[in-house]
Symmetry: C2
Subunit: 143 residues, 2 copies
């Protein structure tokens, strides 16, 4: 049971921005830091902007930054807004949908999943590790 | 974030067997009841047998039945055994794996997800609804 790569990459972007709050960051920089596709990131950043997580600025010196404090962005919100389908099973094609309790059980389980993620903000993910994380992402980028 | 179709179908097979405990059930019958691919079900049933959830019998009058009481088969066990990857994100390719807490947060969230499913057995899914479920699956099959 996996999150889409889309949501996974969205969290990576938010982490990168939380680590570099003093300046604008480009998509190319994030793509190089994590060695992931710039094309995928363009769509992810667009979605992050649309949902109010990041602010983007065009132009030669353009880039993006967090649109909220990293303490205010909790992971349940990111997952809920970025994942296209949160229901773990597609019961719509099942003849016993509405009679069997599998869907109910999965909804309860997903609520528990998201409640746990609500306990983590983007700031929590990097807390006390800023220096080592920045260095690792820099070093990776330099290779 | 979705379970594989594999796990989804496994639960449907278990539900069908819980509804017909008085006799052996064939894969063809389950495929027709849910209008799903028999080929997919063959692999699912093989996995259910390997993990001790169902007992299969070959031959002209062969078929399968639950190998455990439906009250004893909890959904967390089914999901844990049938899903190939339970980790919601693949952090293995990420340069900051081990430094960032995203993986930890997801592991905690997945534990909460499975703990909720542990509260549901296959028997719970159909409790008090046996007659209507059997009729619905029969009717669907006849169409």
């Amino acid at each position: 049971m996996q999150l889409t790569r889309y949501t996974d990459y969205a969290v990576r972007v938010l982490i990168h921005l939380a680590l570099h709050r003093d300046r604008l960051v480009t998509i190319t920089e994030v793509a190089e830091a994590y060695a992931i596709s710039r094309n995928h990131l363009v769509k992810v950043v667009h979605a992050l902007g649309r949902h109010g997580f990041v602010a983007t600025f065009r132009g030669k010196r353009g880039g993006m930054r967090l649109a909220q404090e990293p303490e205010a962005i909790t992971l349940d919100t990111v997952v809920t807004r970025l994942e296209e389908r949160l229901a773990p099973a597609d019961c719509r094609d099942c003849p016993i949908q509405g009679e069997c309790l599998f869907e109910t059980a999965l909804e309860e389980a997903m609520t528990a999943f998201l409640e746990t993620l609500a306990g983590y903000s983007v700031a929590d993910l990097v807390e006390g590790r800023g220096e080592v994380l920045r260095r690792t992402l820099e070093g990776h980028r330099a290779v």
